[in-house]
Symmetry: D4
Subunit: 252 residues, 8 copies
Amino acid sequence: MRDILDAVASGDLSPAEAEARLAGYATTEAGRFDAARERRRGIPEAVLADGKTPAEVASMATAALETTGRALVTRADDAHVDAVTGALPAGATVDHDERARTLVVHAADFDPPSIDARVAVVTAGTSDAAVAGEAAALAQAVGATVERVDDVGVAHLGRVVDHLDTLRAADVAVVAAGREGALPTVVAGLIDTPVVAVPVSTGYGYGGEGESALLSMLQSCTVLSVVNVDAGFTAGAQAGLIARAVADARSE
Amino acid sequence: MRDILDAVASGDLSPAEAEARLAGYATTEAGRFDAARERRRGIPEAVLADGKTPAEVASMATAALETTGRALVTRADDAHVDAVTGALPAGATVDHDERARTLVVHAADFDPPSIDARVAVVTAGTSDAAVAGEAAALAQAVGATVERVDDVGVAHLGRVVDHLDTLRAADVAVVAAGREGALPTVVAGLIDTPVVAVPVSTGYGYGGEGESALLSMLQSCTVLSVVNVDAGFTAGAQAGLIARAVADARSE
Amino acid sequence: MRDILDAVASGDLSPAEAEARLAGYATTEAGRFDAARERRRGIPEAVLADGKTPAEVASMATAALETTGRALVTRADDAHVDAVTGALPAGATVDHDERARTLVVHAADFDPPSIDARVAVVTAGTSDAAVAGEAAALAQAVGATVERVDDVGVAHLGRVVDHLDTLRAADVAVVAAGREGALPTVVAGLIDTPVVAVPVSTGYGYGGEGESALLSMLQSCTVLSVVNVDAGFTAGAQAGLIARAVADARSE
Amino acid sequence: MRDILDAVASGDLSPAEAEARLAGYATTEAGRFDAARERRRGIPEAVLADGKTPAEVASMATAALETTGRALVTRADDAHVDAVTGALPAGATVDHDERARTLVVHAADFDPPSIDARVAVVTAGTSDAAVAGEAAALAQAVGATVERVDDVGVAHLGRVVDHLDTLRAADVAVVAAGREGALPTVVAGLIDTPVVAVPVSTGYGYGGEGESALLSMLQSCTVLSVVNVDAGFTAGAQAGLIARAVADARSE
Amino acid sequence: MRDILDAVASGDLSPAEAEARLAGYATTEAGRFDAARERRRGIPEAVLADGKTPAEVASMATAALETTGRALVTRADDAHVDAVTGALPAGATVDHDERARTLVVHAADFDPPSIDARVAVVTAGTSDAAVAGEAAALAQAVGATVERVDDVGVAHLGRVVDHLDTLRAADVAVVAAGREGALPTVVAGLIDTPVVAVPVSTGYGYGGEGESALLSMLQSCTVLSVVNVDAGFTAGAQAGLIARAVADARSE
Amino acid sequence: MRDILDAVASGDLSPAEAEARLAGYATTEAGRFDAARERRRGIPEAVLADGKTPAEVASMATAALETTGRALVTRADDAHVDAVTGALPAGATVDHDERARTLVVHAADFDPPSIDARVAVVTAGTSDAAVAGEAAALAQAVGATVERVDDVGVAHLGRVVDHLDTLRAADVAVVAAGREGALPTVVAGLIDTPVVAVPVSTGYGYGGEGESALLSMLQSCTVLSVVNVDAGFTAGAQAGLIARAVADARSE
Amino acid sequence: MRDILDAVASGDLSPAEAEARLAGYATTEAGRFDAARERRRGIPEAVLADGKTPAEVASMATAALETTGRALVTRADDAHVDAVTGALPAGATVDHDERARTLVVHAADFDPPSIDARVAVVTAGTSDAAVAGEAAALAQAVGATVERVDDVGVAHLGRVVDHLDTLRAADVAVVAAGREGALPTVVAGLIDTPVVAVPVSTGYGYGGEGESALLSMLQSCTVLSVVNVDAGFTAGAQAGLIARAVADARSE
Amino acid sequence: MRDILDAVASGDLSPAEAEARLAGYATTEAGRFDAARERRRGIPEAVLADGKTPAEVASMATAALETTGRALVTRADDAHVDAVTGALPAGATVDHDERARTLVVHAADFDPPSIDARVAVVTAGTSDAAVAGEAAALAQAVGATVERVDDVGVAHLGRVVDHLDTLRAADVAVVAAGREGALPTVVAGLIDTPVVAVPVSTGYGYGGEGESALLSMLQSCTVLSVVNVDAGFTAGAQAGLIARAVADARSE
């Protein structure tokens, strides 16, 4: 602790980062940012923009940037994007994925991690793109190489078969699907890569808020594990943890 | 009505059948048998053995035989089978499908219908056999030719593809599946035959009483229609109605 | 494939249609349009306007028109209608059903299919009209003759009895009902035509989002099959598949 | 209170009845019998046999007989019937309805009430008979004349129409139905008598424990009120309260 | 029928009323108004304003007025009220209950029914007022005398006890309650008048959309019958049917 | 730790109790007994007999007795009682409450706690007695004085009012009710003592497994807190914690 | 009563307060304010602003102030705050907690209660702050000392352990948590203070409206009691009742 | 295929194994055994004994043994164990885990796989042992080293902290918990190993069939993925797939 305080005294460390290192979080007007999560689990904490004002998101993203060197914002609308972009320190770079609604910000001196592992992110249709994009952003933030396989829904079986080589080359696959949620079962029946299934709330009528897809995945006659409805963040982070375990083994 | 009463007087018609023709049902100790259903809809009424005593089932099956020339018993256990078999009039024939738990009885002079139409009955796995067998029995009772395609679950996609010719040659298909219930969606994506999907209560844990399969079929991203969980009778009867509509058109 | 490419080279085929024939879908800004569905199943793919911007709908409808000769847009509001109408190529014709919220567009040289089969579309009340209209549009797109029987809810039994001739003359009937959803059961008890029941989300209070109607139809004491709540598209398409099976038989 | 105690002292009143009059209940080994209910609401309290031992039921029925002059036992099996019958005081009469599983016991000097009102009790099918029988027993216990209309399910509409005169002549109707529960809606659409609907747990698969019938009745597009699944007791008692209100008015 | 047509020819009957008498409904732009309901069941049909435009409501109310002499509009907001008021024919009178959101319109020559029966309408709290007001309006439309007992929730038991005389003097009581829905059970335990319970969607958190109140009423340890959540119309109409049965008996 | 081991060496402490003190649990064939719970929270751990064999229960009860000086067994049937009784060491005393299905065993030298606080345990009816008895046993085990108020269900309001003095004299009240679960709300509206409500699974039909009572208590319009369905143990333990907090304050 | 009326006559008591004392509530345009609640249970009644207009809230708050000397407004937005503030009589003081959305108003001569007891209010994260703030306001209104322990969610176990001394010093703890709702279980496992758990609706996807947190708390393997989702008011009031029971004992 | 047939002809291959290799399954009286699963996914297919007769299980286990060299039987009772043991060929070895109810059979010449990876299997309490045992059996069958960490439920936080080294040394952890299901969240917050959570149906009352634990795990505020309730097989197989991916990387 003395080292940290010395560094603050000497100006080598900002008070915000010092607080983050000592207390495990950075305090902002909009709440606390869990800066210690990345150190505890190796997964960057994200700022969930949905339900927060643009100013709150910008404030938490800035705290993240100061304390961990980067910020990952999910479910951001245009106003959130503008607020974050407008609040960046000099030299920071921004990557905005409109469909995934994610915003990845790196401080000028941030050195992004890179690990020797591949994550496949698979969608059944266009409406799964946002959730899959969030998963992809997380896997990339962990440092994995991400391969996208899109629009391979089970109504046209030939499409997923065309991509078997990509799926088999991955160390872990995230498969997103709404409606009846059959795609993860079909994919997991074709490969021996671990599959993390993520149900998407794109159904309609009875069971249409993703319950049908969730239940299908929990009941799958193949082997897979599941995250909550629309939980692209969790699916990507879980795939990232698996990818890193593989990469660590690969580099032993 | 006078004709019917004359026939009773002359002994050409049993009182039971006379009641059935006039009132639309036959009265037994165990309740009433809806003898008029077949005339109204062209689908034979079945005696649901589950929850009835062997004596009750035998009594209702006999009433069916007397009034319509045949009896169809569903969900029959061994005691039901023995009771019905023991109560048959001379010359009646019995067909017992142990797996489907159905019992088809024809009076000596019964002339079973035969129509020029094909019904495919498809199962994902062994545990769907009882429900599918019930559906097949109904379709056969309507007079259709039934083709079985078994054990083609989506965990091994190659199997269902091997049977595409049979499926495409059918006028209508019944597809039974439990667990995640994906098979009807996969089948309906491969053929342009109408598909009637029947969810089976063979799952486990959360959603395992068939809800998961039912929801999947209602949410299917292809086109199909659905009956209730384990409703093999209804699926087979609906397929029979469609098959007869096709056969009628074929014979115009 | 060479033929297709030659035709593109010679200008006989647009690149969009060539892509649709080869890949099975047309790519637009707003996502992919599944142009191959019609060839796989004989049912035209529809563009679901609800949840898309007018521009996205217009873009996907144009892709549909270019690759399949027609476009079917469902759940369209006025802005969607204006956008699609404004984007049409010369000679295309538009048919907008305000109550059903459907938009049917035909290219100048499109030759709509016509089959020798009748589909009855039945409603319990005014509030079922939108769902029934969607079903009717699908059945017409398949080429069937559609007969409407409206406002025959079970609170006034005499009304449905007045239409028995129309119902019996149909090869298949779609019956839409909300609230307690009893109409399909009553209709199916009166005729031997196959009935596809569609629950409508017009109830209120407990079970009012269509669950009550859906459960009633799944539990029906007559024979019928069911689609999801408000799934007019699916009901109409399933009726269309049955109608075509009948028409094919009729023309053998 | 002094009068009661004097009567006990003189032997004109048993201690059990004295307790019932003073405290509102009679204490037995098996729990307390709410002897005051009948005085509070005019509906006899019933002993629910299901879940109690034969000895407990006999003990509570005896307490009821001693304190109110009669006992009404519901959901009784053969052992319960034997135990109650064996424990009766001299002169008591027993009426056992096997299908309804009810047991009505009157003390030798009990003078059953009789009111000038009619209650119709209607069933869709054989499987509704137990619940309907329980309702009928309650209405009779209140003193009303009960008319039964059985097996008039909506799969055969003509049957219920045959009984319209009986239904219209009643002051109130109890209508019991399982599966899709459509009968109360159809009946209430045909008459202007108040209808109390009682859902029966005779469905199967999804929604088959009576939920489907309950929801249908709550969502009915006609006017009716509802009791819980299988609540024949409550339906009969509510009909009895309405019948007595009518009879009171008739005798004013 | 000839009489009706003659009356139209002579101008004694408007074509709208003639259609209503012959067909059972009046056709408007906004859908059909079920003019025959009142004749079938003695309960006026209401126009549910919620979800309709002001113009649609005004159009249906006018049709009701022309064909039945009155119009009852429920769940009306200010715009609905203005539209209906602005569209009235000369001499019509309007009664608008702001809290109940009902609008009762009588034609100049309409003679409202009056029956010799009392309906008590009881609320637990202020938030039940709208639903109770709708029930009161229906009971009044049937012609009954309505007594209101308000704000007698079970958190303060003394209040309901203060009104026992009023409750006991009624021929039937409607009791509305949200949250835990205990009031109908408490009221029904205190009187021998029939109670129709109506759950109100004024809870919060889990079970707060009225499910908790609905379940409580279905499970009540006293005798009562229930209508759907917020179904003030149905509760009032059912009470009206009971009140009329009593009044008819009273006037025999 | 050394002290404990010395005591074992000298024979002053059994190895079982030494393990319990050091590891926090005692190991038996039937699983581990959490001996540390009492020290952590001041609530004795109970052995849940339901689902265990008599031998397993006896083994765990013996472990409890050896390590904490007492054993509390819940949901015990006759075989469990016999097994525990047969396995007791010399001098141990047993208290078996048949209705509550609890078994309280004290070692010869056990000095039961006694605190200066009163817990009222209230039931709506006979069927709540088992759950209430379990709650009472826990409160007594903590050392509180327990007052029972039984059979005061809301169908007869006068009864609960008769016991207000007892309820007001308590420091905390546990109120158990099934069916519609209204009693805790009524009680909490009458007193300012904290109320812990426990729903009982004694309903029937829809919501009858205690959901209705649970929802009512969660939605109560008065102030109370709730435990899970049939959780007499938890209700009694929570009341015990509150009673001890009060007793501690009283003795300060 | 005469005293009250005399005081009104002499001007010592306002008519509003007189009504409140006599009738138990104060009548306003916006409904009735339950002024007697505080006297019955010792918990101040609150005005729930959500769903009311600013004018209605101001009117009810004024009634509260006049009759009880204070007003507690919950779930207030800015417009509610402005309306209440603008309507205050001279000398009244206002305390507005923006995050908790509460507004505490004291009349000039109001003497707030103070009791010798401590309530800990604990949150898992920032999104639990509003619910916890409401609970804290209630506990303070009862007069207890409130200690806040914030942001100690189970994803970082060390944080809650840092606050054990504060938690153990409290007489009762309110613990608020959303998502998986594990915090109350973890806290209750560490201390012997009674814990009132309040689930917060801050989850997402399946079970995200607080059901998951509610179920977890009901199923907790430790001892705690629960209030409904987001019921900060009830949790704080229940903690207040417990705190007062402790304080009363402390002052005996 | 010719090679296989030659081997059958020469007696080097049994017809059963030949069928399994060619068709992908082995046919038995009791249904088909999916012998190809292991080749497709590297996870051995298991025979689920629950719901099958001892003879059926023995027959399928024998088929498994003949075609894949081993058999894994889950949820086996004593009769199943006896039947399988009695039907074994010479030299086969059996490993029966009574608590996990698994039976692992190896043919005399079977060479079990062994991979360089560690799977931790963690339980909250004794009642999770069966599900965890099933998971452990699967992970071992894949060849991983399994470490058990038992009885570390969150009611005693210190226990899980004692095992952090074991948990951190694992490549993947399976964490089983019932009741409130908090353990996987707590574990996943402490380590950066991927966690597969498995809910166990050991709760009680509302949400007690594992729904509460399932929802908690889906809503976890840390990162983990989930399988269905009691799905020890799936959890162990998913952990096995992850372990093998790690082992493959380790051996590159």
